[in-house]
Amino acid sequence: MSSSKYILITIVLCGVTTLLSRVIPFVLLKKFSLPPKLVEFFSFVPIVIMAALWFSNLIIARPGHLPEFNWQYVLASLPTFVAAVISKSLLVIVILGMISLAVLRLI
Protein backbone atom coordinates (compact mmCIF):
# COMPACT_ATOMS: atom_id res chain seq x y z
CA MET A 1 0.00 0.00 0.00
CA SER A 2 1.33 3.42 -0.89
CA SER A 3 2.08 5.83 1.90
CA SER A 4 -0.57 8.36 0.90
CA LYS A 5 -3.21 5.62 0.58
CA TYR A 6 -2.30 4.32 4.07
CA ILE A 7 -2.66 7.83 5.48
CA LEU A 8 -5.95 8.46 3.69
CA ILE A 9 -7.56 5.15 4.73
CA THR A 10 -6.49 5.73 8.34
CA ILE A 11 -7.91 9.25 8.37
CA VAL A 12 -11.26 8.09 6.94
CA LEU A 13 -11.57 5.15 9.37
CA CYS A 14 -10.66 7.32 12.36
CA GLY A 15 -13.24 9.82 11.13
CA VAL A 16 -15.94 7.12 10.96
CA THR A 17 -14.97 6.04 14.49
CA THR A 18 -15.27 9.52 15.97
CA LEU A 19 -18.51 10.10 14.05
CA LEU A 20 -20.11 6.92 15.39
CA SER A 21 -19.08 7.68 18.99
CA ARG A 22 -20.74 11.05 18.66
CA VAL A 23 -23.93 10.06 16.83
CA ILE A 24 -24.97 6.64 18.19
CA PRO A 25 -25.99 7.94 21.65
CA PHE A 26 -28.25 10.53 19.97
CA VAL A 27 -29.93 7.87 17.81
CA LEU A 28 -30.42 5.46 20.70
CA LEU A 29 -31.76 8.09 23.09
CA LYS A 30 -34.44 9.06 20.57
CA LYS A 31 -36.00 5.64 21.21
CA PHE A 32 -35.19 5.09 24.88
CA SER A 33 -35.22 7.20 28.02
CA LEU A 34 -32.39 7.31 30.50
CA PRO A 35 -33.13 5.88 33.95
CA PRO A 36 -32.96 8.54 36.74
CA LYS A 37 -29.83 6.93 38.23
CA LEU A 38 -28.01 7.40 34.95
CA VAL A 39 -29.18 11.02 34.69
CA GLU A 40 -27.68 11.60 38.12
CA PHE A 41 -24.47 9.89 37.00
CA PHE A 42 -24.27 12.20 34.00
CA SER A 43 -24.75 15.29 36.16
CA PHE A 44 -21.20 14.64 37.39
CA VAL A 45 -19.72 14.09 33.92
CA PRO A 46 -18.81 17.73 33.08
CA ILE A 47 -16.80 18.47 36.23
CA VAL A 48 -15.13 15.07 36.35
CA ILE A 49 -14.10 15.14 32.67
CA MET A 50 -12.81 18.72 32.84
CA ALA A 51 -10.89 17.97 36.04
CA ALA A 52 -9.40 14.83 34.51
CA LEU A 53 -8.47 16.58 31.25
CA TRP A 54 -6.84 19.42 33.15
CA PHE A 55 -4.92 17.24 35.57
CA SER A 56 -3.84 14.70 32.94
CA ASN A 57 -2.17 17.57 31.12
CA LEU A 58 -0.22 18.46 34.26
CA ILE A 59 1.43 15.08 34.67
CA ILE A 60 3.76 13.04 32.52
CA ALA A 61 3.09 9.31 32.55
CA ARG A 62 5.90 6.93 33.42
CA PRO A 63 4.21 3.51 33.24
CA GLY A 64 4.78 1.52 36.42
CA HIS A 65 6.16 4.56 38.27
CA LEU A 66 4.68 7.66 39.89
CA PRO A 67 3.92 10.25 37.20
CA GLU A 68 6.17 13.28 36.98
CA PHE A 69 4.71 16.76 37.13
CA ASN A 70 4.97 19.10 34.17
CA TRP A 71 5.95 22.01 36.41
CA GLN A 72 5.63 24.65 33.70
CA TYR A 73 2.00 23.66 33.18
CA VAL A 74 1.36 23.41 36.93
CA LEU A 75 2.75 26.91 37.50
CA ALA A 76 0.98 28.39 34.48
CA SER A 77 -2.28 26.92 35.82
CA LEU A 78 -2.14 29.19 38.89
CA PRO A 79 -2.46 32.61 37.17
CA THR A 80 -4.90 30.97 34.74
CA PHE A 81 -7.10 29.88 37.64
CA VAL A 82 -6.89 33.34 39.22
CA ALA A 83 -7.91 34.80 35.85
CA ALA A 84 -10.92 32.45 35.89
CA VAL A 85 -11.99 33.58 39.36
CA ILE A 86 -11.59 37.27 38.58
CA SER A 87 -12.78 37.51 34.98
CA LYS A 88 -15.21 34.57 34.65
CA SER A 89 -14.48 34.97 30.92
CA LEU A 90 -13.11 32.09 28.84
CA LEU A 91 -11.42 34.46 26.45
CA VAL A 92 -9.45 36.20 29.21
CA ILE A 93 -8.65 32.83 30.79
CA VAL A 94 -7.24 31.31 27.57
CA ILE A 95 -5.19 34.37 26.62
CA LEU A 96 -3.80 34.81 30.13
CA GLY A 97 -2.99 31.10 30.25
CA MET A 98 -0.97 31.29 27.06
CA ILE A 99 0.84 34.43 28.20
CA SER A 100 1.62 32.81 31.57
CA LEU A 101 3.26 29.82 29.93
CA ALA A 102 5.11 31.90 27.35
CA VAL A 103 6.51 34.11 30.16
CA LEU A 104 7.45 31.07 32.28
CA ARG A 105 9.40 29.68 29.35
CA LEU A 106 11.30 32.92 29.00
CA ILE A 107 12.50 32.75 32.61
Partner: protein, 235 residues
Protein backbone atom coordinates in the same frame (compact mmCIF):
# COMPACT_ATOMS: atom_id res chain seq x y z
CA UNK B 1 -23.98 34.09 29.23
CA UNK B 2 -27.73 34.66 29.00
CA UNK B 3 -30.97 32.67 29.06
CA UNK B 4 -31.73 32.95 25.33
CA UNK B 5 -31.30 30.03 22.97
CA UNK B 6 -30.98 32.13 19.82
CA UNK B 7 -28.35 32.30 17.08
CA UNK B 8 -27.24 35.65 18.42
CA UNK B 9 -26.52 34.48 21.95
CA UNK B 10 -24.89 31.30 20.57
CA UNK B 11 -22.58 33.46 18.51
CA UNK B 12 -21.72 35.68 21.46
CA UNK B 13 -21.10 32.74 23.77
CA UNK B 14 -19.05 30.74 21.25
CA UNK B 15 -16.67 33.63 20.58
CA UNK B 16 -14.38 33.06 23.58
CA UNK B 17 -14.00 29.37 22.73
CA UNK B 18 -12.86 30.36 19.25
CA UNK B 19 -9.56 31.45 20.74
CA UNK B 20 -9.20 28.05 22.33
CA UNK B 21 -9.93 26.34 19.02
CA UNK B 22 -7.67 28.66 17.06
CA UNK B 23 -4.77 28.04 19.43
CA UNK B 24 -5.12 24.27 19.31
CA UNK B 25 -5.93 23.96 15.62
CA UNK B 26 -3.03 26.22 14.61
CA UNK B 27 -0.79 24.16 16.89
CA UNK B 28 -2.11 20.98 15.27
CA UNK B 29 -1.55 22.37 11.79
CA UNK B 30 2.00 23.35 12.64
CA UNK B 31 2.77 19.99 14.27
CA UNK B 32 1.20 18.13 11.33
CA UNK B 33 3.21 20.02 8.78
CA UNK B 34 6.36 19.67 10.88
CA UNK B 35 5.76 15.88 11.04
CA UNK B 36 6.06 15.68 7.28
CA UNK B 37 2.41 15.64 6.17
CA UNK B 38 1.12 17.75 3.30
CA UNK B 39 -1.19 20.70 3.90
CA UNK B 40 -4.01 18.66 2.31
CA UNK B 41 -3.44 15.66 4.59
CA UNK B 42 -3.32 17.85 7.68
CA UNK B 43 -6.51 19.63 6.62
CA UNK B 44 -8.26 16.33 5.84
CA UNK B 45 -7.58 15.16 9.39
CA UNK B 46 -9.35 18.20 10.78
CA UNK B 47 -12.18 18.02 8.23
CA UNK B 48 -12.89 14.30 8.65
CA UNK B 49 -11.80 13.39 12.19
CA UNK B 50 -12.51 16.73 13.92
CA UNK B 51 -11.26 15.80 17.39
CA UNK B 52 -8.01 17.35 18.59
CA UNK B 53 -6.88 14.52 20.84
CA UNK B 54 -7.70 11.87 18.21
CA UNK B 55 -5.94 13.85 15.49
CA UNK B 56 -2.78 14.19 17.57
CA UNK B 57 -2.85 10.47 18.42
CA UNK B 58 -3.45 9.56 14.76
CA UNK B 59 -0.64 11.84 13.68
CA UNK B 60 1.78 10.25 16.15
CA UNK B 61 0.83 6.72 15.15
CA UNK B 62 0.96 7.44 11.42
CA UNK B 63 4.47 8.79 11.83
CA UNK B 64 5.38 5.60 13.71
CA UNK B 65 3.84 3.53 10.89
CA UNK B 66 1.41 1.72 13.22
CA UNK B 67 -1.10 -0.75 11.73
CA UNK B 68 -4.41 0.85 10.74
CA UNK B 69 -6.36 -1.38 13.16
CA UNK B 70 -4.42 -0.16 16.18
CA UNK B 71 -4.69 3.49 15.12
CA UNK B 72 -8.46 3.15 14.79
CA UNK B 73 -8.72 1.38 18.16
CA UNK B 74 -6.67 4.16 19.76
CA UNK B 75 -8.95 6.71 18.09
CA UNK B 76 -11.96 5.00 19.61
CA UNK B 77 -10.45 4.89 23.09
CA UNK B 78 -9.21 8.46 23.00
CA UNK B 79 -12.62 9.56 21.83
CA UNK B 80 -14.66 7.32 24.12
CA UNK B 81 -15.35 10.17 26.52
CA UNK B 82 -17.38 11.74 23.69
CA UNK B 83 -19.86 8.88 24.06
CA UNK B 84 -20.59 10.11 27.59
CA UNK B 85 -20.87 13.69 26.36
CA UNK B 86 -23.20 12.76 23.48
CA UNK B 87 -25.37 10.76 25.84
CA UNK B 88 -25.58 13.72 28.20
CA UNK B 89 -26.39 16.25 25.47
CA UNK B 90 -28.88 13.92 23.75
CA UNK B 91 -30.95 13.95 26.93
CA UNK B 92 -31.52 17.69 26.46
CA UNK B 93 -32.43 17.50 22.77
CA UNK B 94 -35.09 14.81 22.78
CA UNK B 95 -37.69 17.34 21.62
CA UNK B 96 -35.80 17.84 18.34
CA UNK B 97 -36.15 15.40 15.41
CA UNK B 98 -33.68 12.64 14.62
CA UNK B 99 -31.98 14.47 11.76
CA UNK B 100 -31.26 17.45 14.00
CA UNK B 101 -30.02 15.18 16.78
CA UNK B 102 -27.63 13.47 14.35
CA UNK B 103 -26.37 16.87 13.16
CA UNK B 104 -25.67 18.04 16.71
CA UNK B 105 -23.92 14.76 17.49
CA UNK B 106 -21.77 14.90 14.35
CA UNK B 107 -20.21 18.20 15.35
CA UNK B 108 -20.12 17.79 19.13
CA UNK B 109 -16.78 18.61 20.79
CA UNK B 110 -15.36 18.91 24.32
CA UNK B 111 -15.81 22.64 24.14
CA UNK B 112 -19.32 22.80 22.67
CA UNK B 113 -20.30 20.17 25.24
CA UNK B 114 -18.88 22.21 28.10
CA UNK B 115 -20.45 25.38 26.74
CA UNK B 116 -23.81 23.59 26.54
CA UNK B 117 -23.48 22.34 30.09
CA UNK B 118 -22.73 25.88 31.27
CA UNK B 119 -25.63 27.21 29.22
CA UNK B 120 -28.27 25.02 30.89
CA UNK B 121 -27.50 26.76 34.16
CA UNK B 122 -28.96 29.91 32.61
CA UNK B 123 -31.89 28.38 30.73
CA UNK B 124 -33.56 26.23 33.40
CA UNK B 125 -32.02 23.09 31.97
CA UNK B 126 -33.08 23.71 28.37
CA UNK B 127 -31.10 23.43 25.14
CA UNK B 128 -32.25 23.58 21.54
CA UNK B 129 -31.05 22.85 18.02
CA UNK B 130 -30.61 26.48 16.93
CA UNK B 131 -28.30 27.41 19.78
CA UNK B 132 -26.25 24.22 19.75
CA UNK B 133 -25.95 24.03 15.97
CA UNK B 134 -24.72 27.62 15.78
CA UNK B 135 -22.06 26.91 18.40
CA UNK B 136 -21.07 23.74 16.52
CA UNK B 137 -20.81 25.45 13.11
CA UNK B 138 -18.69 28.29 14.48
CA UNK B 139 -16.43 25.76 16.20
CA UNK B 140 -16.07 23.59 13.09
CA UNK B 141 -15.23 26.51 10.80
CA UNK B 142 -12.76 27.92 13.31
CA UNK B 143 -11.09 24.53 13.62
CA UNK B 144 -10.69 24.25 9.83
CA UNK B 145 -9.40 27.80 9.44
CA UNK B 146 -6.91 27.31 12.29
CA UNK B 147 -5.64 24.01 10.90
CA UNK B 148 -5.08 25.46 7.45
CA UNK B 149 -3.39 28.53 8.89
CA UNK B 150 -1.19 26.34 11.11
CA UNK B 151 -0.25 24.03 8.25
CA UNK B 152 0.79 27.03 6.17
CA UNK B 153 2.59 28.67 9.10
CA UNK B 154 4.23 25.33 9.83
CA UNK B 155 6.72 26.06 7.11
CA UNK B 156 7.84 29.19 8.97
CA UNK B 157 7.35 28.79 12.75
CA UNK B 158 9.89 26.47 14.24
CA UNK B 159 8.77 26.57 17.86
CA UNK B 160 5.01 27.04 18.60
CA UNK B 161 5.77 26.36 22.27
CA UNK B 162 7.51 29.70 22.58
CA UNK B 163 4.14 31.39 22.13
CA UNK B 164 2.46 29.26 24.79
CA UNK B 165 0.08 27.92 22.12
CA UNK B 166 0.14 24.44 23.59
CA UNK B 167 -1.36 25.73 26.86
CA UNK B 168 -4.49 27.16 25.22
CA UNK B 169 -6.44 23.93 25.59
CA UNK B 170 -5.36 23.42 29.22
CA UNK B 171 -6.38 26.99 30.05
CA UNK B 172 -9.71 26.29 28.40
CA UNK B 173 -10.29 23.22 30.57
CA UNK B 174 -9.45 25.26 33.69
CA UNK B 175 -11.89 28.00 32.69
CA UNK B 176 -14.64 25.58 31.72
CA UNK B 177 -14.27 23.63 34.95
CA UNK B 178 -14.37 26.77 37.08
CA UNK B 179 -17.38 28.18 35.23
CA UNK B 180 -19.16 24.84 35.44
CA UNK B 181 -18.74 24.58 39.21
CA UNK B 182 -19.75 28.23 39.58
CA UNK B 183 -22.82 27.90 37.38
CA UNK B 184 -24.25 24.54 38.43
CA UNK B 185 -27.26 25.25 40.63
CA UNK B 186 -28.23 21.62 41.20
CA UNK B 187 -25.17 20.06 42.76
CA UNK B 188 -23.87 21.21 46.15
CA UNK B 189 -20.66 23.29 45.77
CA UNK B 190 -18.73 21.43 48.49
CA UNK B 191 -19.70 18.14 46.87
CA UNK B 192 -18.49 19.39 43.49
CA UNK B 193 -15.15 20.51 44.90
CA UNK B 194 -14.68 17.15 46.62
CA UNK B 195 -15.49 15.35 43.35
CA UNK B 196 -12.99 17.54 41.46
CA UNK B 197 -10.26 16.72 44.02
CA UNK B 198 -11.12 13.02 43.81
CA UNK B 199 -10.85 13.27 40.02
CA UNK B 200 -7.38 14.81 40.34
CA UNK B 201 -6.26 12.00 42.64
CA UNK B 202 -7.78 9.33 40.39
CA UNK B 203 -6.08 10.83 37.34
CA UNK B 204 -2.71 10.76 39.12
CA UNK B 205 -3.11 7.21 40.38
CA UNK B 206 -4.56 5.73 37.20
CA UNK B 207 -1.80 7.29 35.11
CA UNK B 208 0.56 4.87 36.87
CA UNK B 209 -1.28 1.75 35.75
CA UNK B 210 -3.24 2.66 32.61
CA UNK B 211 -2.19 3.79 29.16
CA UNK B 212 -2.68 7.57 28.85
CA UNK B 213 -5.52 7.08 26.35
CA UNK B 214 -7.68 5.27 28.89
CA UNK B 215 -7.10 7.46 31.93
CA UNK B 216 -9.72 10.14 31.25
CA UNK B 217 -12.51 7.69 30.44
CA UNK B 218 -11.82 5.46 33.47
CA UNK B 219 -11.53 8.49 35.79
CA UNK B 220 -14.88 9.69 34.45
CA UNK B 221 -16.60 6.37 35.14
CA UNK B 222 -15.17 6.02 38.66
CA UNK B 223 -15.39 9.74 39.52
CA UNK B 224 -19.07 10.06 38.58
CA UNK B 225 -19.93 6.86 40.49
CA UNK B 226 -18.13 8.10 43.60
CA UNK B 227 -19.88 11.45 43.21
CA UNK B 228 -23.25 9.69 43.26
CA UNK B 229 -22.33 7.67 46.35
CA UNK B 230 -21.09 10.80 48.20
CA UNK B 231 -24.23 12.70 47.25
CA UNK B 232 -26.47 10.01 48.72
CA UNK B 233 -24.44 9.38 51.87
CA UNK B 234 -23.43 12.91 52.89
CA UNK B 235 -25.41 15.53 50.96
Amino acid sequence: MDGYLTKKSAFKEALPTIFGYIGISIAFGIIGKASGFSIIEVSLMSLIIYAGSVQLTTLNMLVAGSPIVSIVLAAFLVNSRVILMSTTVAGYLKQENLKRNILIGTFLTDESFALGMNKINYTNGKLNFTWFNTVNIISYLTWQAGTLLGAILGGFITDPKKLGLDFAIVAMFIGLLYLQVLGDKNLNKVLQIIVVLISFALTYLLTIVLPANLVVIVVTLIGCSLGMVLKHVFF
